[in-house]
């Protein structure tokens, strides 16, 4: 059955990485300063938040689910952390902890809806998305949160974003060049490695993949399918709240309008990840590469002065190409014998 690796196999396996390398070379030649460390860091910073969210989506994709509520969870974390610090005048640690608990809780509810109430995952998380988008605006009557804002009861919010909190989104570490590496990029890298290790090297990750491929078979092999599904949604919710915290720390205000693209960008990154190294399935490494790919593309185009409104179009194109790589070329599922 086995054939020697031919051109198609190579294209499936390395095509996307070659495409990315080509893109870097192209932008490097065409745009001055594209290959500088600052440009690299800028790209990483721009993908840090969507990358973290995308890793969460990956966890739900692995168990055969889908989480549409990540964007809303992230913006809820953004609003919650602002509210905690500005209105309740609490410190950074409380804000972070409350946000993480909120994310975990959202994931738990999503998981229970899917597993216990048998709501299809797309519908459950879509419902949750609407719920959160509405909920996060109720306390402030739809306004953004910043120091000095007027509250619904007529008083003025006097709290501020603490420096420790803002550091999460704005601090830069010294790496070769002083103040080069943003802390958010460090978070991305650490989380990506952690998710990769969890999914690829541990028993739990293996069982999650088994559930995504054939839940019935996994269950008959003694796996607690429901518990792993809930776990996947909790990972997703928690990572989304981490993304929201980083976004709040970068913006320094609870901006109701931000984070519109988070959901689509991170889903795109996770799906592009299917194509990396011919995985044909959700995987953490691919997701990180997928996020990076989109970041490189957009940064390069920006430096070449392509107008901002072409960005979504380009992203869509990349996604379609990646999906073709995944599904058409690799032809999921080997061809059985006669």
């Amino acid at each position: 059955m086995k054939t020697s690796p031919n051109l198609t196999d190579i294209a499936i396996k390395y095509g996307f990485l070659v495409l990315m390398a080509g893109l870097i070379v192209f932008f490097g030649m065409m745009a001055d300063g594209f290959l500088s460390p600052f440009s690299a860091v800028f790209i990483l910073q721009s993908v840090a938040i969507t990358g973290i969210l995308a890793l969460g989506v990956t966890a739900t994709l692995v168990v055969g689910g889908f989480d549409l509520s990540i964007g809303a969870t992230a913006t809820s974390a953004l609003m919650l952390s602002s509210y905690v610090m500005v209105v309740w005048e609490m410190n950074a640690a409380s804000a972070v902890i409350l946000c993480l608990l909120m994310g975990m809780g959202v994931g738990l509810v999503n998981g229970l809806l899917v597993v216990k109430m048998k709501v299809p995952d797309l519908l459950a998380t879509l419902g949750m998305m609407f719920l959160l988008v509405g909920l996060q605006r109720i306390p402030t009557e739809g306004r953004s949160i910043s120091t000095g804002m007027a509250l619904p009861d007529g008083s003025t919010a006097m709290g501020t974003f603490s420096d420790a909190f803002l550091m999460l989104g704005r601090h830069r570490l010294d790496l070769f060049v002083p103040k080069l590496l943003p802390l958010s990029v460090v978070f991305l890298v650490v989380i990506a490695i952690a998710v990769w290790v969890f999914l690829e090297l541990t028993r739990h990750g293996r069982l999650m993949y088994a559930i995504g491929s054939n839940a019935q078979a996994a269950s008959l092999a003694g796996t607690n399918v429901n518990r792993y599904k809930i776990l996947a949604y909790m990972i997703s919710g928690t990572l989304a709240s981490v993304g929201g915290i980083l976004l709040a720390a970068r913006l320094g205000r609870g901006d109701v309008a931000s984070g519109n693209n988070l959901l689509l960008d991170s889903v795109a990154a996770a799906l592009i990840g299917f194509a990396v190294l011919g995985a044909s399935k959700p995987n953490a490494f691919g997701t990180a590469i997928g996020a990076l790919f989109v970041g490189i593309l957009l940064q390069g185009l920006t430096m070449l002065n392509a107008p901002y409104y072409t960005q979504d179009f380009i992203k869509g194109g990349v996604l379609v190409v990646a999906l073709v790589f995944t599904f058409a070329l690799s032809g999921r599922g080997g061809r059985g014998r006669g």
Binding site: M1, K2, T3, L201, T202, R203, H204, R206, L207, Y209, A210, G212, S213, N214, Q216, A217, A218, S219, L220, A221, G222, T223, N224, K281, G333, G334, R335, G336, R337, G338
Partner: protein, 503 residues
């Protein structure tokens, strides 16, 4: 007068470098049932796929009623009068639609008109159903039908095309004896109408009942054609395997101490309580029709279901697992039926499919040890004789028989107290069936083994003791020495016919 419905000459097909068909010359006459036999991997499915328009032949010629026939799509083949009923019954029907819509699906897909005229449709559907003797309400959802009725629906649908050639690919693999008989009657009707029938099966009982002629295939070639009456069955099997079927002869060994004791178990309300004991070094086959309660019994032992009443004792301790995990921890393993639904994890390779239930034994602090997994997989692949390039190949690169070997290997990889195998020979060719049966018996020394099979042949082939199940209870017990097959058959069918007659 040309009485050959379809004629193939020199048909070849290769996938990459794998030659699957190496020059097939075959004629299938009208008004006869031609049985095609072949081990898994012989090329039967590929041949069928060429005839029904899924694959194109690389070389060779096919003529249908004298005219060249090279369908590019399944619907082209259908249009030309070649109708295929696939092994997987649910491939042939749309469960969420009613019977009428299913019967007329091809007409709907052809797209005559835009709106659906319900009344007219039902009328037409009733005509089609009546033509094949299918007596059901055409307004019923297909999802509510039994597997056998679903299959009749898909055949009835095919009949609407006035077929020249009907191909049936292992159609009885999910049917009980009574249901299969209904199908055979229908096939008789079709034969009398002059339809050429190509019937693919491993089951000798089907073949004896139906065959007018037998064609054996081996390694992508026709290895024998048998049409002289009486048909030479053993010759056809020899041609298919390259050697003859030998009756499996083994002596029933002395059994060890009791492992499983079932006392007055009631599987569902109204069923008679039954008791049984399974010993070490003993293989028990539980046989019975589909729906006789075999799966329910297995479910109770494996923690998937709770009995109405009664007691199960394993090694002297009460065994009432609430979950699969508890059952496995107690040493009760179940190799489930329908491997593609219940067993095979397509995204995992052979190694990972084998180690799935016992991953914690291959991991430390949750981290999976690749070396430990590989060692187990290599050992099991060798022991079971799984034919593969490497244990890291995808599971779907294997033939059905080898996939099943992997499924059995999964549960033989660790020692069990009670091993339950539910239909372990489903969709498996004779050679793999022998290998699997042999392995089950060979390893049976330290545990009790219960095999659930609907086919009596399979029970006779593997078991020391045969229990007959009917109406959710055990109605007969036979030691597998000089057994009276007709007595077993009588017990198998008795309750079912009594039930059918009684109501």
């Amino acid at each position: 007068m040309n009485d050959q419905a379809i004629r193939l000459s020199g048909v070849r097909k290769a996938f990459a470098r794998n030659q699957v068909l190496r020059g097939i010359d075959l004629e299938i006459p009208k008004g006869q049932v031609t049985v095609l036999m072949g081990a898994n991997g012989a090329g039967k499915s590929t041949l069928v796929k060429i005839l029904c328009g899924v694959h194109a032949a690389d070389d060779g010629e096919v003529t249908l009623a004298g005219a060249p026939f090279a369908p590019e799509t399944p619907s082209a083949a259908l249009g030309a009068g070649v109708v295929t009923v696939h092994q997987n019954i649910n491939d042939g029907v749309v469960p969420d639609l009613d019977v009428a819509s299913n019967l007329l699906l091809d007409t709907l897909a052809d797209g005559a008109g835009f709106f659906v005229n319900r009344r007219k449709m039902r009328q037409r559907a009733r005509e089609i159903a009546a033509a094949v003797g299918l007596d059901i309400d055409v307004g019923q959802q297909v999802a509510d039908l039994s597997l056998a009725d679903r299959q009749l629906v898909s055949i009835a649908r095919a009949m609407a095309h006035e077929p020249r050639l009907m191909i049936l690919d292992e159609p009885t693999s999910s049917l009980s004896a009574v249901e299969a008989e209904r199908l055979f009657d229908l096939i008789d009707t079709l034969r009398d109408r002059g339809v050429a029938i190509l019937y693919i099966s491993h089951r000798m009982s089907d073949i004896r009942r139906l065959a007018d002629r037998i064609v054996s295939m081996r390694d992508g070639m026709i290895s024998g054609v048998f049409e002289e009456q009486p048909l030479d069955y053993s010759g056809s099997v020899r041609a298919m395997l390259g050697h003859a079927i030998t009756e499996v002869d083994f002596t029933v060994p002395d059994t060890g101490r009791p492992v499983l004791e079932v006392r007055d178990l009631v599987l569902r309300d109204g069923a008679a309580p039954f008791s049984m004991t399974a010993h070490e070094n003993e293989v028990i086959a539980v046989t019975g029709l589909v729906g006789s309660g075999k799966s329910d019994f297995a479910s109770v032992l494996f923690g998937l279901d709770q009995p109405v009443s009664g007691e199960v004792v394993l090694d002297g301790k009460r065994h009432a697992p609430g979950t699969v995990k508890e059952a496995i921890a107690a040493g009760v393993f179940l190799c489930a039926k329908d491997r593609l639904f219940n067993g095979v994890v397509t995204d995992l390779d052979i190694t990972r499919n084998i180690t799935l239930p016992f991953l914690s034994r291959h991991s430390r602090m949750s981290f999976v040890s690749a070396g430990s997994e590989r060692a187990t997989a290599e050992r099991m692949v060798n022991e079971m004789g799984v034919v593969c390039q490497s244990p890291t190949d995808g599971i779907l690169t294997l033939s059905g028989g080898n996939q099943q070997k992997v499924m059995v290997a999964r549960w033989l990889a660790e020692a069990s107290r009670l091993l339950i195998l539910d239909e372990p020979f489903q969709g498996v060719d004779i050679r793999a069936r022998r290998d699997i049966g042999h392995k089950i018996r060979e390893t049976a020394g330290d545990r009790a083994t219960i095999v659930f099979v609907a086919e009596l042949d399979e029970a006779l082939e593997i078991a020391d003791r045969i229990l007959v199940m009917s109406e959710h209870s055990i109605v007969g017990e036979h030691r597998n020495e000089k057994v009276d097959v007709s007595a077993i058959m009588a017990q198998v069918v008795h309750a079912a016919t009594a039930r059918a007659a009684g109501k």
